[in-house]
Amino acid sequence: MTEANRPNSDIISALAGGEIEAGEAAAVQAAIDADNDLSDDYQSLLATAELLATAPAARAPRNYASALPPVEIRSRWTRFTPTLLASAAVALIAFALVDLQGSQVGAPDRARAESRTAISAAAPALAESPLAKVQAVEIEPAVVTESRVEAAAAPPAPVAEVRAVEAEIEVAIVAESELAPAAVAEDDLADEPASAAAGAVPAPAEAPLAAEAVPGLQTASADDGAGETEQPVQEPVEEPVEELIEQADDGEAERAKSAPEPAVAAVAAVEPALATAPPTAPRAPPSPTITSLDQLLDPRWFAALVLGGLLLLAAGFAQTFRRP
């Protein structure tokens, strides 16, 4: 037998332990019989295995069943309970995040409501302010302005008048935003004093300019005092105002949120004192809890939430899949 064909110690040991296939066992046995060293090795290993098999077994020193702790055997499905609890905790955290994001989305509504309250409170002063007069002079919605100023100056009638004042504020905001083009148009008119002085029919381009400046308002001619081509003064068209109110009510969160800022800017351009006046509407005291995502994303809060979630998950999985 060559050294390459000689069975190694693992095979001889497997043969001694009876853990070898019958066909291979015959070949190995033949090799062992042909080699005295292998035969001695095999016989000693076989004797060792037999001796170990006859090793006396000791009795257990006590009854381990009586020493078991009084715990109930959990059913098969209760082993998932820790994981389910951890998942529920993480889901709660996620729900809290989503809820905070939802409240953040709803925040413009609250901001809009606060701004509407502030505007309503400041409406009388705004209507009597030079801003209204400037608007009346520049755009000349004389009839409408007077009626609205009167309405604004009247004692507060809860619903209808407040809505009218709100509409006026909206109109004023739009007018201020369009003030620059209107001024350009007036400059153009000033360049043609002859036609205006002669009481000629205003240029057709003037009306569209004014109409663009204040949509929804009656655009009286520049020389309505002459009365030559006096056009019938139309009643204020209510539909566009209502549309503005509806737009403000129906959504446009960003517009509603940013609406007071252009208004304040426009007022500041005319009356700095009014723009810097403190808000008269009462504001709710700041909540001591987390009310915005920015607060939640504070590194300390965020780290605490993430760490808590990870710990819960780790505890759940460790409890569920721990080694017995």
């Binding site: 001694a16 853990e19 098999a53």
Partner: protein, 209 residues
Amino acid sequence: MATAPHTPSDEERDVRAAVAGDRAAYERLVALHQDGVFNLCLRFTGDFDAADDAAQETFIAALRAIPRFQGGNFRAWLFRITTNKCRDGYHATARRRQLPLEEEIDHPAESFIAAGQPAPTPEQHLDLVSLHAAIRTGLDGLPHDQREALVLRDINGLPYEEIGAILNVGLGTVKSRISRARARMRDFLVANRELLPDSARLPVGRSRT
């Protein structure tokens, strides 16, 4: 500590009942396997008290884990838990191990299982003690991995596949560990023949390591 005869079908029924939450069925399984588990612990750790503790921890762990038992050989599953518990206590056991022979001589005769045999005579008891001590001493000289494989194979009689499952190693590794452990054990027993009773002494031959 005599237990009622337990057939394989009884064991299977008790295993199913224990998995379903039957505490009494689990206690019957403990009574059936506690000697085997204790002996396994004793041969793994080489220390009587450590084996007692490991056996207790094994049955407590098995009580908590039995709802996860997926079926198959319950004894192999229990031995796997036993192996893990004994591995946890190897370091503590190594520090407090006593001389096994002196310890075993103090053991009463009824501490050894003599299945179906009458109580041993004092001479037979001494032979049992000597053999037990010699084997324990030889096992203590083996590395842990080789000792585990040899005990599971030659003393507990498990097939190689189950040993691989218990030790979480492949079949080739099991064969290799058993071969090396058996060779080292043979060399120890040949070199310390005086520790063995006359009937158990190995024939003197050319041994190779």
